[in-house]
């Protein structure tokens, strides 16, 4: 993974017959995914019916492999294989709690939605192959230009591809599966889907759109800007009314995908700030969401419930856990000194730089709305009285590691490491052009 990236652009960096590309983008997203997978395994340790099963971890490894390939895929065939490897493993993991009706329902739902969107994506990719006559995404752009297609045809492909990726990042209107799956799946898997799968999909989205459709920017910038607007707004508005913490985090993760899409829309400005901001944002989001889910798991185990009300009085029962959760929520809400602030600021800067001031405005208003429901959770933890104040929350070793890594990462990424991390992210992005 940390093998040095070869110099000299795409031609030097393609491996396995052009199937994968080893560049900084792949490297940074791979570190994100591996981190997410490692922490998922750590926080699975004490979860009943999951933590002691070998096959569970084996499937996580398969899913991780798929995600790593997604972040590096540079051929239509590899795109599809990687996507399916990831998806099928995740379908299994979501429905892993056999006998639990919610988990089974979530598994089926995820599978049906996933299969449908994969089919649309596959159709789009096959059209693309039909138009251009080749499968390597770095050759497609030239071949499409040479084929002299009408923009309408390319737009059709673009929309189909967007359906596939939109499903994976849970962008509105392809988000319907998200809350049910997040609620039903074993919680560590919810965490894993919310960060790993999303990060890998953003890697693929960035790579694919920049490589294949660079000449059609005026279309996809508008399409993605509109998609971002709806995704943020709907995600945040629906999150406001949730009572279940996992469903709230599901809608929040939809909204977070919307923010990241701002950066994707801003990529058109021909500078690397937009994509650099997306990469930075995904890294911060990975750390933050994992921290939040770690605490959800710990609380769930003690109280047996996953309602927001179950967090009541966490401050009195376990002040350090409450503080960690509070920091995670603030990071999601974009408050310094946590990484979320810098992440959002870079995204909005990128939008302003790209001339999308209105999109930045929509983004900041949404950030405000989101802060409301994050603060409601904070209020529940700090102000409300717990039902069983005396019941201590035991935190075993793996969870301590997970929390320390994520919380420290969140704070460092929001303060002294902003510079180096942004440089890394930007260099990842500059390889795309």
């Amino acid at each position: 993974m940390f093998a040095p990236v070869p110099e000299g652009g795409a031609s030097e960096q393609l491996f396995l017959g052009g199937m994968v590309r080893h560049d900084t983008l792949a490297q940074i997203f791979r570190s994100m995914i591996l981190l997410a997978a490692a922490i998922t395994c750590l926080i699975s340790a004490d979860v009943p019916r999951v933590g002691r099963r070998g096959d569970y971890y084996a499937i996580i490894i398969a899913a991780t492999l798929g995600m790593c390939l997604m972040s590096a895929a540079s051929d239509l065939i590899m795109v599809l294989i990687a996507l399916e490897t990831t998806s099928i493993s995740l379908y299994l993991l979501v429905g892993f709690l056999r006998g639990d009706a919610k988990s089974a329902e979530a598994g089926v739902k995820y599978f049906l939605f996933g299969a449908f969107s994969s089919a649309v994506l596959l159709y789009g990719l096959s059209l693309l192959y039909g138009f251009a006559g080749q499968t390597n995404i770095y050759g497609l752009s030239g071949a499409l230009a040479a084929a002299g297609l009408e923009p309408g045809h390319v737009l059709l492909v673009l929309v189909m591809v967007l359906v596939g990726f939109g499903f994976k990042v849970s962008a509105v209107p392809f988000h319907f599966w998200t809350p049910d799956v997040y609620e039903g799946a074993p919680t560590p898997i919810t965490a894993f889907i919310s960060v790993g799968s999303k990060a890998a999909s953003f890697a693929l989205l960035l790579r694919f759109f920049l490589a294949v459709f660079p000449t059609y920017e005026e279309y996809w910038v508008v399409v993605i800007a509109v998609l971002a607007t709806f995704t943020m707004t709907l995600g945040n508005l629906l999150a406001l009314v949730q009572r279940n913490i996992k469903r709230m985090l599901a809608y929040s993760s939809i909204a977070q995908a919307g923010y990241a899409l701002i950066g994707v829309a801003a990529v058109a400005a021909d500078n690397s700030l937009g994509s650099g901001a997306v990469v930075f944002y995904m890294f911060m989001y990975t750390l933050t969401n994992l921290a939040a889910f770690t605490i959800v798991i710990l609380v769930e185990r003690v109280t047996g419930g996953d309602q927001i009300a179950d967090l009541a009085g966490l401050h009195q029962r376990a002040p350090r856990l409450a503080l960690a959760m509070f920091l995670a929520l603030l990071s999601l809400g974009g408050i310094p000194p946590l990484a979320g602030f810098a992440g959002k600021l870079f995204l909005f800067s990128a939008a302003v730089d790209a001339g999308l001031v209105w999109l930045a405005m929509v983004g900041v208003i949404n950030a405000l709305v989101s802060l409301y429901y994050y603060l409601v959770v904070a209020k529940v933890m700090y102000v409300d009285q717990p039902a069983h104040a005396d019941k201590a929350i035991a935190v075993s070793r793996p969870y301590v590691y997970s929390l320390v890594v994520t919380v420290v990462g969140m704070v460092l990424l929001g303060t002294i490491f902003i510079g180096p991390w942004l440089n890394w992210s930007t260099s990842a992005a500059s390889g795309l052009f």
């Binding site: 603030l330 408050i335 310094p336 930045a360 405000l368 802060l371 700090y382 102000v383 510079g419 942004l422």
Partner: protein
């Protein structure tokens, strides 16, 4: 070269360090938490005093740049910017975007840093009696103070926003957890959302300035200081672009006769104005102040509202003078509503704390009004008013908190004769009241007189809206209407003094009310002394504020 003693960094970082130390203490160690917090704040106060004295010494040194600025002269550094910032520390933070860790103070922020230190130190003293989760309270309080210090000393716009938002979350928790049980959740949420909505909309405006300034320097590389990046969040860098007219290019957003300054000034000024309590965005402020625990009310009304006014001045008026000239003449009408309406509302409150809450709305209106005079007299008055009102309100809220802690009610008609049991609180409150009314010999007079004088002189710049509708100078009328508030202020202060501190003391009802502790007394005395010093000897602050206001007024085209 000997590296300069990083006084500002220490002021910002010591409270954060103290918060970490406090959180590592065992839960039962209440006294240790209090002592740690008080020590940290004490060191900060000492450093802030040293910094203040150092700056003031230069203002009073006849051959220095600051002396020249304070006395009608001009002094520029090599780039042509007014040379007002001192104690500057600069380190690169995010190279790729031109973000620095850059701190410094000028004559406007130096008094604010001192004020924050005063309010922070006395706030810890006032909170000595908090028994419920003392450790967490002190920790969050330290973070809040650190964020406030940060905004006043930040010379990088990214850093400024960083601290600005950073100050908000400890406040939410402090109010929601330790506040007045009846309204705390509602008030904490309302306050947080109000403040954030203003600041993040202003943030978009700042991002626009950042990119426009960067583009400007890319097109005019000869204007760029040596070794600087074109795109930078450095305050002085953007100020330089502003000075060269980067924000006054006609045809902004494709509209003729529109410039960036004209478009974004009201957004930025009013965005920060939310925190300064500018009408009609003042609504959060009385609720927030009342719900907050005493120390937080002190910081909040005393310092945080200044944060809004200060940022509106720095990022709005100072960076977009062209926009200020167009928009401040109507914004002054909003501030007039603040001043007069706030005073009237304060008069008819039953709740002791709401009186002070609305009096803050009224007095903060004077600060914004002072900015809107756009002449040196009025703006200097506004700078002084920020300090004077800060210390005064902190004193007021401290008194209210002490009465409430003992009598367990803030209902004005049912209180009475408190001066018998807590004479010092009564004296302190009356002193604050005299400041509030603007009595000569107290800091309120020193601050408010120049504001009204400035209004009376009228604006230093011509009041025309794009040449179309030339207006007569209506500023003197505003001074006349605004002066009504002085009478109303006197009325509500005397009403409260009369009903709460004098009159009949109900022995049966309040037999448990005793005198305040020596620690409380120390806090009151510190604040009262600050108010008196400024009132008796305004020269310790006025020239300093003037030295930094002068270049702003010059950029506005006033006198």
């Amino acid at each position: 070269m000997i590296p300069q003693f990083p006084v500002l960094s220490l002021i910002v970082l010591i409270p954060i360090g103290a918060a970490v130390v406090i959180w590592l203490l065992p839960k039962e160690a209440r006294t240790a938490a209090r002592v740690t917090a008080a020590t940290a704040m004490g060191i900060c106060l000492l450093l802030a005093l040293l910094m203040y004295i150092g700056y003031n010494a230069e203002v009073n040194t006849p051959e220095s740049d600051l002396y020249a600025l304070a006395n009608g002269g001009y002094a520029f550094d090599s780039d042509g910017l007014p040379n007002t910032f001192r104690f500057v520390e600069q380190y690169t933070w995010v190279e790729a975007l031109g973000i620095q860790y850059k701190l410094g103070v000028d004559g406007i922020s130096a008094p604010m840093v001192l004020l924050t230190a005063l309010a922070g130190f006395t706030g810890v003293l006032i909170s000595w009696g908090i028994e419920e989760s003392t450790r967490e309270f002190m920790g969050f309080f330290m973070l809040l103070v650190s964020g406030v210090f940060g905004v006043f000393v930040a010379l990088d716009l990214f850093l400024l926003f960083f601290f600005y938002e950073f100050a908000i979350f400890p406040m939410y928790i402090l109010i929601a957890t330790w506040g007045w049980k009846v309204t705390r959740e509602y008030a904490a949420m309302k306050l947080t959302l109000y403040i954030l909505v203003g600041s993040i909309i202003a943030l978009v405006g700042v991002l626009v300035m950042y990119f426009v300034a960067g583009d400007f320097f890319v097109q005019n590389p000869d204007l760029l200081p040596e070794g600087a990046r074109a795109y930078s969040f450095d305050f002085e860098h953007i100020q330089l672009a502003s000075m060269h007219g980067a924000f006054n290019v006609d045809g902004y957003a494709g509209i003729d006769g529109f410039t960036l300054a004209k478009f974004w000034f009201p957004v930025i000024f009013l965005g920060f104005g939310v925190l300064a309590g500018v009408f009609p965005f003042h609504n959060w402020s009385p609720d927030g102040h009342v719900a907050a625990p005493t120390a937080v009310s002190m910081i909040h009304a005393g310092v945080l509202m200044k944060l809004g006014a200060y940022s509106a001045l720095r990022l709005g008026v100072q960076l977009l003078p062209e926009g200020a000239r167009i928009h401040l003449p109507w914004i002054i009408l909003l501030t007039l509503v603040n001043v007069v309406y706030g005073a009237f509302i304060a008069f008819r409150q039953r709740d002791f704390k709401y009186v002070i809450g609305f009096s803050s709305v009224s007095h903060m209106g004077l600060v914004s009004m002072g900015f809107a005079t756009m002449n040196l007299t009025g703006m200097t008055g506004a700078g002084l008013q920020m300090f004077s009102h800060g210390a005064m309100t902190a004193l007021f809220f401290a008194c209210v908190g002490m009465v409430y802690d003992r009598a367990h009610t803030r209902d004005i008609p049912s209180l009475g004769g408190m001066a018998r049991r807590m004479p010092l609180v009564a004296v302190a409150f009356i002193l604050g009241g005299l400041v509030s009314m603007g009595m000569p010999g107290f800091s309120g007079f020193v601050a408010e007189l120049p504001i009204y004088l400035g209004l009376w002189h009228g604006t230093g710049v011509s009041l025309s809206l794009g040449g179309a509708a030339a207006l007569t100078n209506y500023y003197p009328w505003i001074a006349i209407v605004g002066a009504v508030s002085i009478v109303v202020t006197a009325a509500y202060v005397m009403r409260v003094v009369h009903l709460v501190f004098f009159g009949k003391f109900d022995e049966n009802k309040y037999h448990l009310v005793g005198d305040v502790t020596p620690i409380d007394k120390a806090a009151l005395i510190i604040l009262a002394v600050a108010l008196l010093i400024l009132g008796v000897q305004p020269l310790v602050m006025a020239p300093m504020v003037q030295s930094s206001m002068a270049p702003i007024v010059a950029a506005l085209g006033g006198m």
